[in-house]
């Protein structure tokens, strides 16, 4: 009797094993057939952080990518990431005083429903962008008036910061929308837009731009699909369909790329890239314009000692920037001297930061802390551009220990970090990605002048710490109001030097961007605004 059961178990086990082997082998045949059929489809792996698909509400890294594919702007950035090229505007003029911009719309430009792109659409777009008062509206702040009396001509008047309007109008959030369709679906451009506009839900399922692609479907935490706009007025791209799959883990992205499931993986970090052995995968490393930075908050209420200029300088001098690149990026990056990237106006020719422990200790002693002190670092527990913030802060902790500063690390979620920005974060680390080619964004955000974001944050609970105000920077900002592009570059350079000497914002490295893709993908390059210009891509 026992032998019967013994045989039965053996038979059952044998049947199970054979079934499993058959299922897996036969499934392999089908998966290869699926891959061969996608020559005009591009599949991309990316950890999507989309917060909206409404171009005037969206504000995130993935948003720039997808909004940039669905909406065209008046002008765009060239392949050198510097030259402004025509897009919906075939040409433009700037008045002598730099306050009036006249754009002449391309007569062939049409939206995805076939209706022509007219000046009323540009006016509606800009006014909605301003009046919704969402994140990206800061780039439309300088615009005081939009004249759309001529359907083929748009006249934009600015009130301040004139020299960077062209760069700002190339941002994907400035994408021109079909005003008639948008209005019919709840979009409002008037001053009461924050209360009256109800179009966001509609934009999550539809797009109303003029670009080569339109939104096919969006499933949060899963994928977004774009398909070719059949009515596109320009040269149709080779790729007819783009599918961006949400793949949170870089290792999973690398696996999908190696196995051919995806054509491009957008966020593989340097360490993961080293594990890729597949000869059909191309890995190109090139400088980017992102950077991570350590920030000191002199206005924090829980400081053991005040973060005076000497103390801040001592902290900055103690950091080993070259060592930081090795530890966090395996050397795949650059030391960045100031918040303005080297290739941006005013960012070049600045002194490189160097660790100087002797001077750091001397400054601490002069500040009255020869034996160091304790310092709390509250930072978001995340990885940004392939850099783990935990690893960075551990390195900072080690460096500062050499001058007697004992750093206590407290990783938190971003939501918790934000709730504590009112004044209980003495030190933190954050990141910045450029939205367009221009340096005004750095000044508006990082300058220690009342009205900028970091002046508010660095002041802690007071939000207005007078001793933090940098009067030289305030004077430079006044001069920028009327500066030409050449004059502005010199002023930004002065700004950069001031920001270096403040030691409130300390850049911790500029990670290289890794372009990782299958060998049969052509036309890959880095675009400062959309990361990858998908309409230029084709497949062999």
């Amino acid at each position: 009797m026992k032998s019967l059961t013994h045989n039965h178990f053996q038979k059952t086990a044998f049947i199970i094993v054979v079934t499993l082997v058959f299922a897996t082998v036969s499934s392999g045949i089908f998966s290869r057939q699926a891959e061969a059929a996608k020559k005009d489809v591009l599949v991309v792996a990316r950890a999507m952080d989309i917060n909206s698909l409404d171009p005037h509400i969206a504000f995130c890294d993935t948003c720039k990518v997808v909004i940039g594919m669905m909406y065209e702007t008046l002008i765009k950035l060239g392949a050198d990431n510097k030259t402004i090229l025509p897009q919906l505007a075939r040409n433009w003029e700037v008045s002598g005083d730099g306050m009036t911009y006249t754009f002449y719309l391309d007569e062939y430009a049409v939206f995805s429903d076939g209706s022509p792109v007219e000046s009323k659409d540009v006016k509606f777009t800009i006014e909605r962008w301003q009046n919704l008062k969402q994140d990206s509206s800061m780039y439309a702040k300088s615009i005081s008036k939009v004249d759309a009396s001529d359907p083929r001509k748009v006249v934009i008047t600015v009130s301040s910061w004139p020299s960077e309007l062209l760069g700002q109008l190339a941002v994907p959030y400035a994408g021109i929308i079909n005003s008639d369709v948008a209005r019919a679906n709840g979009a409002v451009s008037t001053a009461d837009a924050p209360k009256k506009d109800k179009a966001e839900a509609w934009f999550m399922k539809n797009s109303v731009g003029s670009s080569p692609y339109v939104l096919e479907s969006y499933r949060p935490d899963e994928e977004i699909r774009l398909k070719q706009n059949p009515k596109y007025w320009g040269k149709k791209p080779a790729i007819k369909r783009i599918i961006i799959k949400h793949v949170p883990e870089p290792v999973s992205q690398a696996q999908m790329l190696e196995s051919g499931q995806v054509d491009i993986a957008m966020q593989i970090d340097a360490d993961t890239a080293k594990t890729i052995r597949n000869k059909n995968v191309v890995i190109k490393s090139q400088p980017s314009y992102y950077f991570n930075y350590v920030a000191l908050v002199p206005g924090a209420t829980n400081l053991e000692v005040p973060l005076t200029p000497k103390v801040r300088e001592a902290i900055a001098l103690a950091i080993d920037h070259e060592g930081m690149l090795d530890v966090t990026l395996g050397g795949a990056g650059r030391v960045q001297p100031s918040v303005i990237p080297v290739e941006f106006p005013g960012g070049g020719g600045l002194p490189m930061p160097k660790q100087n422990l002797v001077k750091a200790r001397k400054l601490l002693a002069e500040a009255g802390h020869p034996n160091g002190f304790g310092l709390l670092a509250v930072y978001p527990d995340m990885t940004s551009f392939g850099v783990s913030f935990s690893v960075v802060m551990q390195k900072v902790q080690q460096d500062l220990r050499k001058i007697g500063i004992k750093v206590k690390l407290e990783p938190v979620t971003m939501a918790v970090l934000r709730s504590r920005t009112g004044g209980t974060i003495p030190m933190t680390i954050l990141m910045w990605a450029a939205d367009y080619m221009g340096s005004a964004q750095y000044v508006q955000y990082f300058a220690m002048v009342p009205g900028t974001t970091w002046y508010y944050l660095a002041s802690g609970t007071t939000n207005d710490m007078k001793e933090l105000t940098n009067h030289r920077e305030a004077a430079l900002m006044e001069k920028l109001q009327k500066a030409s592009a050449e004059e502005a570059e010199k002023l930004y350079h002065e700004f950069a030097k001031e920001m270096i000497n403040e030691h409130v914002i300390i850049p911790i490295g500029n990670p290289n961007l890794l372009l990782t893709y299958r060998k049969n993908v052509l036309g890959m390059r880095y675009d400062i605004i959309t990361e990858i210009p998908f309409d230029e891509i084709s497949k062999r």
Binding site: S31, N51, M138, E222, R418
Partner: protein, 338 residues
Amino acid sequence: MLRYIIRRLLAIPLLVFGVVTICFFLAHNIKGDPLSSLLSFRQLGNPEIVAATKARWGLDKSLPEQYFIYIKNLLAGDFGTSFRTRRPVLEDIADRLPATLELAIVSLVIGSLAGIFLGMLAAYYRNQLIDDGARLFALIGSSMPVFWSGLILLFIFSVKLQILPGPGRLDPVTDIPPYVTGMFTIDSLLAGDIDKFLDAVRHMILPAFVMAWSMMGIISRIVRASMLDVLNQEYILTARSKGARELRVIMNHALRNVMIPTLTIIGFSFAYLITGAVLVETIFSWPGVGYYAVSSTRALDFPAIIGVTIIGATAFLVTNLVTDISYAFANPKIRLGR
């Protein structure tokens, strides 16, 4: 028994309401700023934009006011709009719950059958090589972190051998089947699309196996221990003495008594699979409720957090009820409601 079931069913909404209330007030008192999902860090210094955003999302009202508005909407079937996805929470959950259920059901079936089989095997061949092998296999599955085993299996089967697909529910290029249940296997069968059905099944093999493997350990241990106890009972000896085939002895006499504690574990495992599979969902890019729950929690997305809590609480309550009912079928001695 029917009265017992009805009483339990009527209690579920009341219990869920209690859970929602506790969750609502707890979530709003956690340290953290829900504006982090609604606004970027750059706008923190702009009081005008912060105020406009709070007004738009009702965060400028007092907590009791927010609570009553939430309950009023909830009773009308409106779970609110997710701060993170900007879609109705109910729509988000309707998309994700079938994905989780599909994976959880398949994992549960595989894990339960395999766990029971391994447990029976281990008990029958106690202290022999088969016993050691079965227990080792199950123990490895329970001990290994699922994100690690998931990545390793993906590497072996998807990247190196290329006999199984990578993350996702379908091939990246394949369109999803017309929505009926939200479960791609069933929906593709209903649409008559066999290729899509097979694609969905293939994509489920690895994540389901990883989840099932993690469950097998405890199920097989329970079964083994119970089986060893039951096999020594006198009625088993009687059955054998009467000439019953060994297979009949095991399946008809022993297994039924082993199933009661096993069903309890299976019931809890199912509820856990629905809400706790976030690591598997992350590694395999499986857009389920677990990943949604964790992402929403990290972002302090209150409407989504409470929406998922409602689903999770309901899942546990219903699963407990089903488990209790199945006891009565597994063991006629148990009469529910008495």
